[in-house]
């Protein structure tokens, strides 16, 4: 394949040593000024006193974090105990997003693989085939998905007519529907990065594995997956993190019966509650969790760079 050069996952190189500041500058300027600054402001907000119905009062307060972690009863007069409400919401969201990521990986990897192994001309066609649906707005996609799977929708009607099922499947407002929605929302975020990594995979490695008595699936597990790992990890991050904050799929397909992180935080800014410091605090906690996960990933990546 690629004229001989050993391809290493996570090898670090120094070609542009010293150019890092210049190369990073646009990112720093854009994200630093237009996002980091606002986020720092939010971080500050999380330590301020809430103003009723939105906004903040410039007075230091730990009330938001207190509210997140400690339960003082409905009327605030019981001795503090651990507040499980928000932790529960976070945990459920993480679980939900994790499952969605897993499903996307399970379906997305074969798809990306299949596309990357087409001949070069048709690859981009397949790639576009996967992304074309995303020219239609997420909301419309989700609503049409809802239309499709509802008890009186085409899917159930078809299955009923064919006689596969005796009564509607009852998919709508279930966790399955939420998963389907998340899958539908974020699939390309898994497929594209994996595609980009697989496209470079050196099939001589598969040959070597096959030569050493490894069947196709063993080769997949022991050689291919580890070698294209950077793409898989990128895909997982791109599906997991947005799924955490997703609210359209849970709302429209799952019936909005429980808060997800996204809707909980949104409620603090756009809902009745209007508790900005609490929304900010919840966001900072979420940010910290995701940041930790990401830094563990970055750390692992650095470990593989020996030079």
């Amino acid at each position: 394949m690629a004229a001989g050069a050993p391809m290493g996952a996570g090898t670090s190189s120094h070609i542009y040593e010293g150019n890092a500041p210049r190369l990073m500058a646009p990112s720093w300027i854009f994200i630093g000024f237009f996002l980091l600054a606002p986020v720092i402001m939010m971080a500050v907000y999380s330590f301020l006193t809430k103003e009723f119905r939105g906004g903040v009062i410039w007075e230091f307060s730990l009330a938001a974090y207190d509210q997140f972690f400690f339960d003082r009863g409905l009327f605030g007069d019981e001795p503090p105990s651990i507040e499980w409400t928000y932790i529960g919401i976070f945990w459920r969201s993480i679980w939900q997003a994790g499952l969605a990521t897993f499903v996307c990986l399970l379906i997305g990897f074969p798809t990306a693989w299949f596309i990357a192994t087409r001949d070069p001309q048709s690859r981009s066609i397949w790639l576009f085939l996967v992304t074309i649906p995303y020219w239609v707005n997420l909301l419309i996609r989700t609503v049409s998905m809802k239309f499709l799977i509802r008890d009186t929708g085409p899917l159930n009607e078809f299955l009923l007519q064919v006689g596969v099922i005796g009564e509607p499947l009852g998919l709508i407002n279930t966790n399955f529907a939420v998963q389907l929605g998340l899958f539908y929302s974020y699939l390309p975020f898994m497929v594209l990065p994996i595609y980009a990594a697989v496209e470079r995979y050196d099939f001589a490695l598969s040959e070597a594995a096959a030569d050493l008595y490894s069947g196709a699936w063993t080769t997949l597990r022991l050689i291919i997956l580890p070698v294209v790992k950077p793409g898989i990890i990128a895909g997982c991050i791109l599906v997991f993190v947005p799924s955490l904050g997703a609210f359209l799929a849970p709302d429209l397909l799952g019936g909005a019966k429980t808060f997800m992180i996204g809707s909980l935080i949104e409620e603090q800014f756009k809902g009745n509650a209007g508790n900005w410091p609490f929304g900010a605090a919840a966001s900072m906690i979420l940010l910290t969790i995701v940041l930790c996960i990401l830094l563990v990933y970055a750390r692992n990546q650095n470990k593989t760079e020996i030079r």
């Binding site: 050993p6 290493g8 040959e207 070597a208 096959a210 030569d211």
Partner: protein, 357 residues
């Protein structure tokens, strides 16, 4: 030859890459326990043939049999053959030891045994201390040795080696060569060895197939190939030779009478049935003696020396302008003629051969 004696049989194999034909109907029988070498210039189809045997390349026509069974359609991981890849193809995410253990674990060895065997094989290729490194942290030759160790470890029935020694230095090459030979004798498995290095081919092989442009030119023992090449290509490719343009006076069976450039008549063996007319006489540089000019087969002027360590190579020019080389063993007793000196060249009887083009 009964088919039990044949380890691998390549039967009329043709391979096309688009319009380009890499193999034009190659037929070979590799015997059991044989060290068989494919020798040929770059691009002649050696790797292609090896990949077809390993199962990585489908053949366009023809068959490949392993111990009498047609391999067509059998996937590579079910073929009891291992390959040392020309481009190594080491697994970049695994350590050297993990690379070597890979095939063993796939064959169901226990981890402990696989580690032991892996370390043994790494010892063999002198890489024991590198067991924990990743392939990218090795030099080119070290990588090649890992590839060799990886293929040797599972003790395959047939081992395919695609230039496994090309990046090794002479000393290491010699020791790996003898290890390979020993291993081959000990295990009695057939080795199919690809090389472009004729010395390697001559020293190691039981038999050699010389290939050119996707065709087999000659199959034979090293001595046959070197001393009785069937055509000009083989004579020229295997070792160095001087090809003299001569006039064929007569041919009788395997013997020809020719007239050398200077006009001297000369009798020599002829490769195949040739028509009288002009032909090429192959004379190996080491089979030419230096004598006084005048009464020798040929007269020549010395134009240059090359120092080869073991030998000294003389470049000489004949009176008609043809250039030849003569090889003298490098020793105190050898008197090396000066550049510019005129010398006589005496061809050894029977060592010069008349060849087909």
């Amino acid at each position: 030859m009964a088919s039990q004696d044949i380890a691998v049989s390549v039967d009329q194999v043709v391979k096309h890459y688009g319009n380009f034909t890499a193999l034009h109907g190659v037929s070979l029988d590799i015997r059991e326990s044989e060290f068989f070498t494919l020798l040929g210039p770059s691009g002649c189809g050696k790797t292609t043939l090896l990949r077809a045997i390993a199962g990585f390349e489908s053949v366009s026509e023809g068959h490949i049999l392993l111990k009498g069974e047609d391999l067509t359609g059998l996937p590579p991981h079910q073929r009891p053959v291992n390959t040392v890849f020309q481009q190594y193809a080491l697994f970049p995410h695994m350590t050297v030891l993990e690379n070597v253990m890979f095939g063993l674990l796939r064959k169901g060895w226990s981890k402990v045994e696989a580690v032991r065997r892996g370390q043994d094989v790494l010892d063999l290729v002198q890489l024991a201390e590198f067991a924990k490194r990743k392939p990218t942290q090795l030099s080119g030759g070290q990588q090649q040795r890992v590839a060799l160790a990886r293929a040797l470890a599972p003790r395959p029935e047939v081992l395919l080696l695609d230039e496994p020694l090309s990046a090794l230095d002479l000393k290491l090459r010699q020791s790996v060569r003898s290890e390979l030979k020993a291993l081959q004798r000990e295990t009695g498995i057939a080795f199919i060895f690809v090389t472009h290095d004729q010395e390697e081919a001559l020293t190691m092989s039981d038999r050699i197939a010389v290939m050119s442009n996707g065709r087999v030119q000659q199959i034979g023992s090293p001595k046959e190939i070197y001393e009785a090449p069937v055509n000009r290509f083989v004579a020229d490719f295997v070792g160095e030779t001087n090809l003299l343009d001569v006039e064929i006076a007569s041919i009788d069976g395997g013997t020809a009478s020719v007239v050398l450039p200077g006009g001297t008549p000369f009798t020599c063996p002829a490769a195949t049935v040739l028509d009288p007319g002009r032909g090429h006489l192959s004379a190996r540089p080491e089979r030419i003696r230096i004598t006084a000019p005048g009464d020798a087969h040929l007269d020549a002027v010395v134009t240059g020396h090359t120092y080869l360590g073991t030998d000294i190579q003389l470049q000489v020019r004949l009176s008609d302008g043809e250039v030849m080389s003569v090889r003298l063993q490098n020793s105190e007793t050898t008197s090396v003629p000066e550049v510019g000196q005129t010398i006589g060249l005496q061809l050894e009887e029977g060592a010069a051969r008349l060849l087909a083009d």
